[in-house]
Every structure is written in structure tokens, then in C-alpha cells.
């Protein structure tokens, strides 16, 4: 039972990170119908930025809380800037091009960013400074759920609530919903669609960056390649929940996280990534619309 609880919490932690990244995929897909292949790389850049900033600050002897806040802020700001730039360079000129062109451009961007970080930083695994200390009040539960798990879960919950509020109640949220329903119509009623798309990329990238920082500090090491696998898994989560649906992304993230955690715990840890890919293939074959997505008929 204890083993089960442990796996359950580690699944939730994983799942919430997947959910944070999946939100970026799903929001972008909802608005421009493009799989932002470079999103995993944005997440990796967020994690790397926070790694650089946190390490520099800790070398200069800043207190832990300010390190956490500043590193998180830097990660979000820079990832958002990267997301914005990527959209502007690689996707905007191709908005009216065939889907295949935009997708190839996205793959190119992903390869470019990955190798940019490889060349700019290092190809080795880097130890990530521990940003979340072990809290005293967590002592009695430490064998099943760690402090960093708790922080990750709480942050994710907060972010989700914030995002939902933003989309439901703010002006820009309304504009985003309108754009995703019908871009041309949104333009006609005076919504600056380009701005909405940029904002979507900025929000999605910042969320991924926060996820990146949290998981990197949880795992304790970082590498330029983490974005690839995390990106595919988060995409799986987004598809699982129904791409384009925000609650779907969260649900998909948790389902995927728990599946992986139990599968590696009870079956075999060698095939950790195979489970996610198999799940992805199975959903796409049997229920391409996902758990919460709507089946959309293609108009001719």
C-alpha cells in the first residue's frame, strides 16, 4: 500500500509537469491549429535559464527564497521571449501556407534550439541546484511524498486556477476564445489576432518554463535533450485529453503521469518511454478526439 501511495504521488508530480507543458501545446493548437513542435525546446530553455540564473545567484551567495523567485522569473521571462520570437520567425510567415510547411518549420526550429543550447552551454548533464528544501512539517510523510512533490503540485494547482480565471474572465482571455472559435470572424469584430496569437505563445511558454524549473530541481540534473522527450510526452497528454481543450490537457497530463508511474513501478522501468508512446498511438487510433475533445467534422 505504501508503495502504491508513493507511486501515486510520483505519478501526480510527473503528471502535473506534463500538464503544465501540455497547456502550451493545447492553447496553441486551439488557436492556430499547429503542433508547436518547438514547445518542448522552450521548456528546456526555461529549465536551462533557471539553472544558469540559480547557479550564478547561489555562487554570489543570495538567500534561497530570492534565488527561487528570481530563477523562476528569469525562466518565465526568457522562455516567453523565445516563444514569442519563434512564433514570429518560424510560424507567422507560414500562416497561410500548407500545414506540412508549418510543421516542418516547427521541427526545424526544434532541432535548431536544441543544438543552440548544446553549443551555447554543454552536452553533459549538469547538476541542478536544489531549490526546494525539505520542510520540517513534511517529515512524517517524507517516505511517500517529498517536499518538492508538494511544491510542484501546489504550484501547478495555482497556475491552473490562474489560467482558467484569465481565460474565463479577462479581456484577452475572451479574445483568445473568440480567435480559437473562428479566426476570421474574430478579426472582423476587431480583435487583433496577431496579438492574441503572440500572447498565447507567451503564456504557454512561461507555463512550460515554470514546469521546466520545477522538474529540473526535483530531478536534480539537466541536459539539452530533456525537451525532446518531455515535449512528446506532453503532446501525448494534450492529445489524450483532447487537443484544444484546457481541462483536457490537465486531465491528460495526470492520466499519463499516473500510467507511467504505475507501469514503471509494477511492470518494468526499462520501457518507461515506450508506455507513453504506445498510449499515444492507441489513443490516436481509437479515440483521436481525446477524452474531453469534440469530434470535429471536416468541412469541404
Amino acid at each position: 500500500m505504501e508503495y502504491f501511495t508513493e507511486l501515486f504521488f510520483s505519478g501526480l508530480t510527473r503528471g502535473s509537469i506534463y500538464a503544465l507543458i501540455a497547456l502550451g501545446y493545447t492553447m496553441v493548437y486551439g488557436i492556430i491549429g499547429l503542433i508547436n513542435f518547438a514547445h518542448g525546446e522552450i521548456y528546456m530553455i526555461g529549465a536551462f535559464t533557471s539553472f544558469v540564473v540559480a547557479t550564478v545567484l547561489s555562487i554570489y551567495g543570495f538567500p534561497l527564497l530570492s534565488i527561487v523567485l528570481l530563477a523562476g522569473l528569469a525562466a518565465a521571462v526568457w522562455s516567453a521571449s523565445y516563444g514569442y520570437t519563434v512564433e514570429k520567425i518560424a510560424y507567422r510567415p507560414l500562416r497561410h501556407a500548407p500545414r506540412l510547411s508549418a510543421l516542418i518549420s516547427a521541427i526545424g526550429m526544434s532541432i535548431f534550439l536544441q543544438n543552440y543550447v548544446l553549443l551555447a552551454q554543454s552536452s553533459e548533464f549538469q547538476p541542478f541546484p536544489e531549490l526546494i528544501p525539505d520542510f520540517d512539517f513534511m517529515e512524517p510523510f517524507a517516505h511517500v511524498v517529498g517536499s518538492s512533490d508538494l511544491v510542484i503540485l501546489l504550484t501547478t494547482a495555482l497556475v491552473m486556477v490562474g489560467l482558467t480565471m484569465l481565460i474565463k474572465f479577462s479581456r484577452i482571455g475572451k479574445a483568445m476564445r473568440a480567435t480559437s472559435q473562428d479566426r476570421t470572424m474574430a478579426m472582423l469584430v476587431g480583435i487583433d489576432v496577431n496579438k492574441v496569437i503572440s500572447v498565447t505563445f507567451i503564456i504557454g511558454s512561461a507555463l512550460a518554463a515554470i514546469g521546466g524549473m520545477l522538474i529540473a530541481s526535483h530531478i536534480g540534473q539537466i541536459n539539452f535533450f530533456i525537451g525532446f522527450i518531455a515535449g512528446i510526452k506532453a503532446f501525448t497528454a494534450a492529445v489524450l485529453g483532447g487537443i484544444g481543450s484546457i481541462p483536457g490537457a490537465v486531465l491528460g497530463g495526470f492520466v499519463l503521469g499516473l500510467t507511467e508511474s504505475f507501469a514503471t513501478g509494477y511492470v518494468s522501468s526499462d520501457y518507461e518511454d515506450v508506455f507513453a508512446f504506445t498510449l499515444l498511438v492507441l489513443i490516436l487510433i481509437f479515440k483521436p478526439a481525446g477524452l474531453l475533445g469534440r469530434e470535429a467534422a471536416e468541412k469541404v
Binding site: L100, I111, A120, Y271, V274
Partner: protein, 407 residues
């Protein structure tokens, strides 16, 4: 030519990129030694570089704009690119291909074994590119897991050779068949999927194959791979290493010529036309009575066949394989070849493969930046020249009887 306004914009772009690259390019930390290294020179490079690139793009745009204006007034008539003239006129085309073939036949006598070896690799990528071209270029199905079929071919020869001592020539058709089988296996479930979903599933499929090869030790020897694979036999005669390379080179030339022949014939066949129809519009294509399932499956199967064949040759060439040779990056390189050369264009794919494989080999200093450049190439090509270096020419009827009745 460029206004102050535009210079200002470029300046802003360069400042933006300096900001963007600041944490990753300027700061380098060593978490173990606990030292920070500030590399300001990188920032200056990025700023200058992005300023120049941004200016170039602006100049390019201004030129495009002017050309468009002149075209509208009828002052400027597009010249037909020289490549297109050569490709559309059989007389030139046959002369050119003959010359290329002759050059490639004498190549090993003019250059060292090392160069020949590199050329074999390039030719292998030509074949892979031509195979992927069937799937991506003709049928318009973005396959990101193409390397999986390559792995299937390589492992089928390696394992057959290791366990049953099967020779190269026996393994060649087996590898091709197995790869085609896997192509159908992948094709079946993804029949219903649209472009981008398809891309991700094929990517997942490629990764699954690699992960299985890496983890299933009893079957594939895991990450350590299989070594001592026999080289291709030559009527039972033992060849020295140098001669074996020479032999392999001519084998590859023959293979590439064969591939070009087959792909060319396929393009004009019934199924080839069905692929193009499928690429252009799935619904219209079905309405015309084309069986979508069959068309897609044959595209996957035929595309995979070439990868399987090259896989067998790869195993025979290196005599050692392990899962590390079959990563997603390999798929990306092959895709890049097809995209750079020109999707759907045979000649383009050959040019693309030679550029992308030979250039980094000869510019050793740049080999670190190889993948970076590949990524950039994919993006720039899509934005500025989506049809590739050598555009595929659409066959069209020319009405020559009346001068004014064009098209």
C-alpha cells in the same frame, strides 16, 4: 535602398536577440567548481550577426516587392530557371545524367579510399532520401519515424548474419521485405490520421523501435550492438578492405541508378499519380474513386522498402550496428534532404543529399554546427523557398498549335 526607419528596426532586432541569447550564450556556469564565466564576445557576435541577417532579409523583401510590381505592369517576365530547362528537355537531361554517371564511375580512381567511403555514405543518403521522397514528397504523408525502417533493415541483416550466417545477398531482399512489412504495420493504424497527428505517431513509432532495440537485450544485444557483420560477398572471393570499399561503392552506384529508375517509373504510374492526388486533396482524391487505404499503404510500404535496403547495406558497410545510429535526428536529416532538395523532385533529392552529407564532411570545422544548420535550413527553406533547391516540375499539357493559346 533602405530607409532609416528600416535600419532602426534592424537595430531593434539585434538588441532583441542580444537580450534573448543573454543567459545561455553569455553566462556559462560551472556548478561543480562554482565559477561563472561571462562571455560578452558572444553577445557582440549575436548582435552583429542578427543585425546583418535582419538587413539582408529586408533587402530581400524590398527586391521581392519591386519584382512583384514590375511583374504586375508586365515589365518583368520571369525567366525559366536553368535547372528547369535542363530537367524538362530530355536532350539536356540525358547528357547531364550521362556526365554525372561517368564522373561517379571514375570517382574512386581519382580520389582516395577515404573519399570513396564518404561518397558511399552520401549515396546511401541519396537512396534514403529517394525512399522518403515517396512518402513525404509524393504522397504528402509526413513520416518522422523513417529511421525505424532503416533500423529494421540493418538489424534484420545483422541478426540473420549473427544467428544463421545468412549472406548479404540473401539478406537484401529479406531486409527490404521486412521493412515493407513494418511500413504496412505502421500504415494500418494511422490510415485515418491527418497530417500533423500522423507526424507524431510516426515519430512515436520510430522511438518505440529504437527503445525496443536498446532494451531487449536477448533479442538485439541492447546498446552494445552487434559487431562482426559480414561484408557483402563477391562470388565467394575474399576481398581486401580497399577492394571491399570499391566493391561497395559500385554496388551503391548501381543501387542508386536502380532506385532512380524505379522511383521515376513509379511517379508516372497509376499509383504515383494517385499519391500526388492524395497529397493535393484527400477528399477530392477519394471522390475520384481512388482507394485511399491502398494508396497510403503502398506509399508507406514502398518508402520503407528503400530504407530497409539501405539498412542492410549500412550494416554490411560498417560491420557494426547499435541503436544509437537510429535516433530521431537521423530521420530529421533525411527529412531535411528531401525538403532542401525539393519535395517530389528526384534530382532535387540527389542534390540535397550530396549538399547535406558532403558539405559537413569537407568543412570539418563546421561539423559541430551541422545540426544547428540543419534546423535553420528547414525553417528558412519553408519560409523563403518551400519548393526546394530544385523544384519539382508539374507535368502539364502544352498547347503548341496556336501561339496565343497558352495553358
Amino acid at each position: 535602398m533602405l530607409s532609416i526607419e528600416q535600419l532602426k528596426k534592424s537595430l531593434f532586432v539585434s538588441l532583441w536577440f542580444a537580450f534573448l541569447t543573454f543567459p545561455l550564450l553569455v553566462i556559462k556556469v560551472d556548478p561543480i567548481e562554482r565559477t561563472v564565466q561571462w562571455r560578452w564576445e558572444n553577445m557582440a557576435l549575436v548582435a552583429a550577426g542578427s543585425f546583418l541577417v535582419s538587413l539582408l532579409v529586408r533587402v530581400f523583401q524590398v527586391q521581392q516587392e519591386r519584382r512583384r510590381e514590375r511583374r504586375a505592369t508586365g515589365e518583368f517576365v520571369d525567366r525559366v530557371p536553368i535547372m528547369q530547362i535542363i530537367l524538362s528537355e530530355p536532350r539536356y537531361l540525358y547528357t547531364l545524367s550521362g556526365a554525372v554517371l561517368l564522373c561517379s564511375l571514375v570517382f574512386p580512381f581519382l580520389f582516395s579510399t577515404y573519399q570513396t567511403n564518404i561518397m558511399i555514405t552520401a549515396l546511401m543518403y541519396v537512396m534514403l532520401g529517394l525512399g522518403l521522397n515517396i512518402v513525404v514528397g509524393l504522397a504528402g504523408l509526413l513520416d518522422l519515424g523513417y529511421v525505424a525502417f532503416y533500423a529494421v533493415g540493418a538489424y534484420s541483416y545483422a541478426l540473420l548474419n549473427y544467428h544463421f550466417d545468412v549472406g548479404f545477398w540473401m539478406a537484401l531482399p529479406i531486409g527490404a521485405l521486412l521493412a515493407a512489412l513494418f511500413g504496412v504495420l505502421l500504415g494500418f493504424p494511422v490510415l485515418r490520421l491527418r497530417g500533423d497527428y500522423l507526424a507524431i505517431v510516426t515519430l512515436g513509432f520510430g522511438e518505440i523501435i529504437r527503445l525496443i532495440l536498446e532494451n531487449w537485450n536477448e533479442f538485439s544485444e541492447g546498446p552494445s550492438g552487434i559487431s562482426n557483420i559480414s561484408r557483402p560477398g563477391f562470388f565467394g572471393i575474399e576481398l581486401s578492405l580497399e577492394h571491399a570499399i570499391l566493391y561497395l561503392y559500385y554496388l551503391m552506384i548501381a543501387m542508386v541508378v536502380f532506385t532512380i529508375f524505379v522511383v521515376n517509373r513509379l511517379q508516372d504510374s497509376r499509383i504515383g499519380r494517385a499519391w500526388v492526388a492524395l497529397r493535393e486533396d484527400e477528399i477530392a482524391c477519394q471522390a475520384m474513386g481512388i482507394d485511399k487505404r491502398k494508396t497510403k499503404l503502398t506509399a508507406f510500404a514502398l518508402g520503407a522498402t528503400w530504407a530497409g535496403i539501405v539498412g542492410v547495406i549500412f550494416a554490411a558497410k560498417t560491420t557494426f550496428i547499435n541503436p544509437a545510429s537510429f535516433t530521431f535526428l537521423e530521420s530529421a536529416i533525411i527529412l531535411c534532404i528531401v525538403v532542401l532538395g525539393g519535395m517530389g523532385s528526384i534530382f532535387g533529392v540527389i542534390v540535397g543529399a550530396l549538399i547535406l552529407i558532403l558539405l559537413p564532411e569537407y568543412l570539418r570545422a563546421l561539423s559541430d554546427y551541422r545540426m544547428l544548420a540543419f534546423g535553420a535550413v528547414l525553417v528558412t527553406m519553408m519560409i523563403f523557398r518551400p519548393q526546394g533547391v530544385v523544384a519539382n516540375i508539374r507535368r502539364s499539357y502544352q498547347f503548341k498549335s496556336k501561339a496565343e493559346g497558352e495553358g
